[in-house]
């Protein structure tokens, strides 16, 4: 390291200094979003989803893509309090937390590799990686063979749904794409469909809407990270519905449990007493 360079130079340049491309609040006048007037141009010409994607990615998307992303939120807005994130919303309701807490906790819970925003992110990563590897000449069956197995089945986010319970959202998702003019399907969706068909034949597993949605958004030029950022909080509507219904109920009113409804599998009753060897030192 040269003597003229201090080890903290990187941080010194950032102390009391912000450099940003996102925009700026102009106190008493306006706010700038990616170089555009928020209260002028954006307000007059954009819908909410276009504004969201513009702020997050810097990219102005078309109204029909905005509608596709908007409508895809329907797929994660089931107001059924048995679904994990919604259960937390209902619990927040009986607990009388603020609605913001219910929203946040539900969205945090859905940041899960099994479902929700993280599952879609992982599906996008998977599709992107497998497409790249296939382009290098690796056959699909070899790609699938190389995927880690869970209980004997390939662990592929977005493509591990047992076919005996078909994802009821796939048909409407494909129809949504067709109706909005996203036809024929792009290369990522075609790959995802081919992968799904192969998994169905070999393992009885199929694609779910997270896999389809991830592939669709990859075809629209988004990266997996951008897909994650756009998808964050998609379960909030169902969570809030469950919260609102339970708000004001007595404490513990939602699905209360007897002590014995939890199965204890730990050590039998014991004492901290001197016979416990760990405590004798």
């Amino acid at each position: 390291m040269s003597a003229s360079i201090r080890p903290d130079d990187y941080w010194r340049a950032r102390r009391r200094h912000i450099r940003t491309a996102t925009g700026q609040w102009l106190s008493g006048k306006d706010a700038i979003v990616r170089g555009r007037s928020l209260l002028g141009e954006c307000m007059e010409t954009l819908d909410l989803r276009q504004l969201q994607v513009l702020e997050i990615t810097g990219r102005l998307i078309s109204p029909r893509l905005s509608e596709w992303i908007d409508k895809s939120v329907f797929f994660t807005s089931y107001p059924d309090p048995r679904i994990w994130c919604n259960f937390l919303g209902a619990s927040c309701g009986t607990q009388a937390t603020t609605p913001v807490v219910a929203h946040a906790i539900g969205c945090l819970a859905a940041d899960s590799r099994a479902y929700g925003s993280r599952a879609q992110y992982l599906a996008a990563q998977t599709v992107e990686r497998l497409i790249a590897e296939e382009a290098e000449g690796v056959p699909l069956e070899v790609l699938v063979e190389g995927v880690p197995k869970r209980h004997g089945f390939p662990s592929l986010s977005g493509f591990a749904r047992p076919l005996k319970v078909e994802d009821e959202r796939l048909g409407p998702a494909r129809e949504l794409s067709r109706r909005l003019g996203f036809a024929p399907p792009g290369p990522a969706v075609l790959f995802a469909e081919r992968l799904s068909n192969y998994l169905e034949a070999q393992y009885g597993l199929g694609m779910n809407v997270a896999g389809y949605g991830a592939a669709f958004l990859l075809d629209q030029g988004f990266t997996p990270d951008e897909i994650y950022r756009i998808s964050a909080g998609r379960v909030a509507i169902g969570v809030m519905a469950c919260y609102a219904e339970r708000f004001g109920e007595p404490a513990n009113a939602f699905l209360p449990l007897h002590c014995n409804d939890i199965a204890y599998r730990g050590p039998a009753a014991r004492s901290v007493g001197d016979e416990h060897p760990q405590r004798s030192r």
């Binding site: 201090r6 080890p7 903290d8 130079d9 990187y10 941080w11 009391r16 200094h17 912000i18 450099r19 940003t20 491309a21 925009g23 700026q24 700038i32 990616r34 170089g35 555009r36 513009l54 990615t57 810097g58 990219r59 102005l60 603020t98 807490v101 945090l108 513990n252 209360p256 449990l257 007897h258 002590c259 014995n260 409804d261 939890i262 199965a263 204890y264 599998r265 730990g266 050590p267 039998a268 009753a269 014991r270 004492s271 901290v272 416990h276 760990q278 405590r279 030192r281």
Partner: protein, 261 residues
């Protein structure tokens, strides 16, 4: 009253025994078999934390190690990302019950955050049998930029070694001879320190957790529990200050790059 046909959850940690008159109300609660009444009468908090994470009460040596670690990390300073988040929320009058969870979540993540604790746990576990010199650390260190992370859990703190974390690691090591991961980490730090790198929070928590016998995921909880007191206290303190004590950075220090999408 029969139990549910399929239990809601199974657990090895906590057993609740109902009262005779009301199956919803617990008359007794046991943690890994120990009555909570006995634990509150005879154990320290760090012993009970160890019990809940590890499944057994700790030896006195391990209890002291956990306590030392948790005291050492209990307040990482007002510039720590978690504490600063709680302070920012506090002074902007966020609901008081949210300050601790906000701070704990803000210091998550894989870049010096709680997720990196698990990554460091795995890295140290897999390399514990290797001499740090064999890892090429010396060569590596000479070419490190201040912003680089040479390996999970280790790196620079604003371009330098963090001397407090190094002292805390030493203090933990002095409490127990059974600290192979912490000792391994100290050797790594000896190699890295002349080049401005050393322990980072995730590495120290991961190494100590390994020496305490905790798993990869459990080590994340150790880090969160350790830093919680400072986050809570410093966030709450700011609630008592007027909001105008926190001033926005002036426009002349704000550099906007416009490139319409």
């Amino acid at each position: 009253m029969p139990a549910l046909p399929h239990p809601e959850f199974t657990t090895r940690i906590c057993q609740e025994l109902p009262t005779k008159s009301n199956p919803f109300v617990a008359r007794e609660r046991r943690l890994y078999g120990y009555a909570i009444d006995e634990l509150w009468g005879r154990c320290t908090l760090s012993e009970v934390i160890y019990l809940m994470i590890g499944g057994e009460l700790p030896t006195r040596e391990r209890a002291r190690l956990l306590e030392c670690l948790m005291i050492g990390l209990s307040n990482l300073g007002p510039r720590d990302v978690g504490i600063r988040a709680a302070m920012t929320a506090g002074i902007s009058k966020t609901h008081e019950e949210l300050l601790l969870p906000i701070g704990l979540l803000a210091c998550g993540g894989s870049n010096n955050g709680n997720t990196e604790i698990a990554l460091a746990h795995r890295y140290i576990r897999e390399h514990l049998q290797h001499d740090p010199q064999d890892l090429g650390a010396t060569t590596l260190a000479a070419h490190l930029a201040p912003t680089d992370t040479p390996m999970p859990g280790f790196g620079s703190t604003y371009g330098s070694e963090d001397p407090i974390l190094t002292r805390l690691a030493n203090a933990c090591i002095e409490l127990s001879i059974d600290t192979p991961a912490l000792r391994w980490g100290q050797k790594v730090v000896t190699t890295l320190a002349p080049h401005g790198h050393g322990w980072r929070f995730p590495g120290l928590v991961a190494a100590a957790s390994l020496d305490l016998g905790f798993g990869e995921r459990e080590s994340i909880a150790v880090g969160q529990l350790a830093r919680a007191p400072g986050i809570a206290a410093q966030g709450l303190e700011q609630l008592h200050h007027p909001i105008h004590h926190s001033r926005f950075l002036e426009d002349e220090h704000y550099e906007r790059i416009d490139s319409p999408g």
